[in-house]
């Protein structure tokens, strides 16, 4: 995509491209401190895809924004370490971050409509970063933008560059946001629910495109999604979040075959399937996640967990290793272990679960 005239190059490092250590992000509100992200750690190796899954409100978006350093200005505290290519992002001054954003690190925001500027033609929204970061001329940038729109499946791209966001459908806006995020060829792409509003065919096309970019440019990706099914075939590793914390983390295949955390198991179970007849009642996870400004003691999933025992309400389970070292989970009575089976049996006998 044209000659690269980068303002700065990322220093190659031997370690992981991204290291996140004990990241916390709290919002001060009238009703107390909302602990949206509460001590999250992970690493991402260059060229790999890490998926972050978890239910609505579990902190996935705040985590990604916090990694980027793109949080609201007021009433936020952010603690912990975020290192990108050896650079400390938490302490970095704003102007340094600005050079990274859109160029080395790009983000696809979850809400496509509000992340586009409603009064600026989409052509300009895409070409701006190409001209600023890559130093393309106006016509180079236009050609690149046209190619980008075509690659995300938008018909008659030359014409549509002159359109405003409201003239596109929801899914088209989403694809435009993706096109502008990948425009400058970032090293790291954080994609927050990049395909939620898209049908399978278009979603697959977009994910294929991202995967191709990964191979071509060694791009690393964080794929945020509420859909475990979607990320199953598209990620190397998966992190499961619950109430601001990581509750299970493993290579994708391991997570699916050796699920340990009851919450992960429940997530895997409630998806509607094409093979079921219509109007089947879908299994849900009973109850609601805890109030993020008032977490209970012990395991945060305890009030909804089919395996829960008295210990769960008292002691918070730490992350501990599973059968393979890359697998960690936080649970006292893990799925697929004698301990877990016993706990489940006990609850069943007591009539706690159906």
């Amino acid at each position: 995509m044209g000659a690269r005239r980068r303002v700065r190059e990322v220093r190659p490092t031997d370690g992981p491209l991204l290291e996140v250590e004990d990241l916390r992000t709290y919002f001060e509100t009238r009703r107390g401190l909302v602990k949206a992200v509460d001590g999250v750690s992970f690493e991402l190796i260059a060229g790999r895809t890490l998926a972050i899954v978890g239910e609505s409100g579990s902190g996935k978006t705040v985590l990604s924004r916090s990694v980027m350093g793109l949080l609201p200005q007021r009433n936020v505290t952010r603690e912990g370490r975020v290192r990108f290519a050896g650079l400390d992002l938490v302490g970095a001054p704003e102007h340094e971050l600005r050079e990274l954003w859109g160029d080395q690190i790009a983000m696809v925001f979850q809400d496509p409509v509000t992340s586009l500027n409603p009064v600026v033609r989409i052509g300009r929204q895409i070409t701006e970063s190409l001209r600023h970061h890559v130093g393309m001329s106006r016509s180079e940038a236009r050609a690149a933008a046209t190619a980008l729109l075509r690659s995300v499946g938008i018909a008659e791209p030359e014409q549509r560059l002159r359109w405003y966001p409201h003239q596109f459908s929801g899914g088209m806006c989403q694809r435009i946001v993706i096109a502008s995020a990948i425009a400058c060829g970032p090293q790291l792409l954080l994609a927050d629910e990049p395909t939620t509003g898209l049908d399978v065919t278009v979603a697959a096309q977009i994910l294929d495109l991202l995967q191709r970019l990964q191979h071509e440019r060694q791009m690393s990706m964080i794929l945020v999604s509420h859909d475990l099914g979607l990320v199953a075939g598209r990620s190397d590793d998966i992190i499961v979040m619950y109430a601001g914390k990581v509750v299970e983390k493993a290579p994708t295949a391991t997570l699916l075959s050796d699920t340990r955390m009851p919450y992960t198991e429940a997530l895997l179970r409630s998806a509607p399937r094409l093979t079921d007849g219509s109007h089947r009642r879908l299994p849900t996870i009973p109850g609601a996640p805890p109030d993020p400004s008032d977490y209970p003691a012990g395991c945060r999933f305890a009030s909804r967990c089919a395996y829960a025992q008295p210990r769960c309400a008292e002691e918070e389970p730490p992350l501990r290793p599973g059968a393979v070292p890359e697998h960690t989970y936080a649970c006292w009575y893990p799925v697929g272990t004698p301990h877990g089976a016993e706990a489940l049996e006990l609850n069943r006998a007591g009539g706690a679960v159906g």
Binding site: G171, G229, A271
Partner: protein, 366 residues
């Protein structure tokens, strides 16, 4: 006018909503226009759910919004409870709003950022002066609980303090506050994880049973649509491809585009659930969609709008637009060469005249 046919329409007096030959064009500079919806017809009986599927940009939201006259369609009728909404003035239309609700696709921009959740959810009641303040609050509390949110914990907060899925649930609660008769849900569960999604779907089913709620349910997710819908309508580039009962559409799709959609979904869900039990097997020879550029709604293809991608397309598909016709029990398709069903009248005519549609015979079965 190039309609896509009305064969799928049923008894007018029994329908709660009946849309006839709906057209929505958006003008562009230079006397061009976007043909977003081009002659769509459907009806929904009281208590029924119509699922609306089709790929991104095919006109689902535009159709849903046109039902509510947002904006008013270019032409066509929208008959709600025997009244044509396209003929109503602003105030009369406003009166209907209590019975007709929409859950917009974009949850964030449909909620005023400065109001509290409590205001947003009770507002439909306060606008119409329904109940006392505490009654309204009780109802809001109950409704929010139905979407798995705690009124006491969230009522005082504002939309920007919520995740997208939480905003989506707030707008669902808001839309259901007035016990509407018809709700157009535009991707109501797309941002939700499976568990909350299941909860909302179950809630809609309950409301349907208890209050006879009628739904137009727009979604790109075929398994969700199958679960909630009685009937499903498949759209492609502003046109109707196929209408059928949910179970039938999924086992015997007749339109090549529907089939392509099903196969893609099965492929996608295989990664996780093994895809077991689905009878449909892809046939590499007859199922490969043509890899061409996306057809455009500014200059749509002549004849059948799917023809540039359709593996079964023949000459007639470029010349004569297929219209919907009945091919089975509650099953309608707009295609000259449907899968497992007889040729269209036009195609038959042409074949009889020796006009090249001869290879159609080997096409059935799938």
């Amino acid at each position: 006018m190039a309609g896509s046919g009305v064969a799928q329409l049923r008894e007018p007096s029994a329908a709660l909503i009946r849309v006839e030959d709906l057209v929505v064009d958006f003008p562009l500079p230079g006397r061009r226009k976007v043909h977003a919806v081009s002659g769509v017809s459907f009806d929904v009986y009281p208590g029924e759910t119509l699922g609306l599927v089709g790929e991104s940009g095919c006109g689902k939201s535009t159709t849903g919004r046109a039902v509510l006259q947002l904006p008013r369609p270019t032409s066509g009728k929208v008959i709600f409870d025997q009244v044509d909404l396209t003929k109503l003035g602003g105030e009369e239309l406003r009166q209907k709003r209590t019975e007709l609700q929409v859950i917009f696709q974009d949850p964030i921009s449909s909620l005023y950022p400065r109001r509290t959740v409590s205001d947003l959810v009770t507002e439909p009641l306060s606008i119409w002066g329904i109940g006392t303040r505490s009654e309204r609050e009780d109802r809001a509390r109950a409704m929010l609980a139905e979407v798995n949110m705690d009124y006491d914990a969230v009522g005082w907060r504002r939309p920007y303090e919520f995740s997208i899925g939480q905003c989506q649930r707030i707008s669902i609660a808001r839309a259901l506050m007035l016990n509407p008769r018809l709700v157009v849900c535009d991707e109501p569960v797309s941002a939700l994880d499976v568990s909350v999604q299941a909860q909302i779907i179950n809630l809609l089913q309950d409301m349907k049973r208890r209050h006879g709620l009628t739904l137009v349910f727009i979604s790109h997710d075929l398994s969700v649509v199958k679960n909630v819908s009685d009937r499903v309508m498949v759209m492609f580039l502003g046109k109707v491809c196929e209408v059928a009962s949910a179970d039938r559409l999924y086992t015997e799709p007749a339109h090549p585009y529907t089939r392509a959609l099903m196969l893609a979904s099965i492929g996608a869900s295989k990664a996780l659930v093994g895809g077991g039990g689905v009878k449909m097997m892809p046939n590499p020879e007859t199922d490969a969609e043509k890899q061409t550029e996306m057809p455009s709604s500014i200059t749509p293809p002549s004849g059948c709008r799917y023809r540039t991608r359709c593996p079964h397309a023949e000459k007639i598909c470029a010349e004569v637009e297929p219209v919907t016709r009945r091919v089975g029990d509650d099953h309608y398709v707009a295609c000259h060469f449907p899968i497992g069903a007889p040729l269209s009248e036009d195609a038959r005519q042409l074949a009889a005249d020796g006009g090249g549609a001869g290879s159609a015979a080997g096409r059935a079965g799938g």
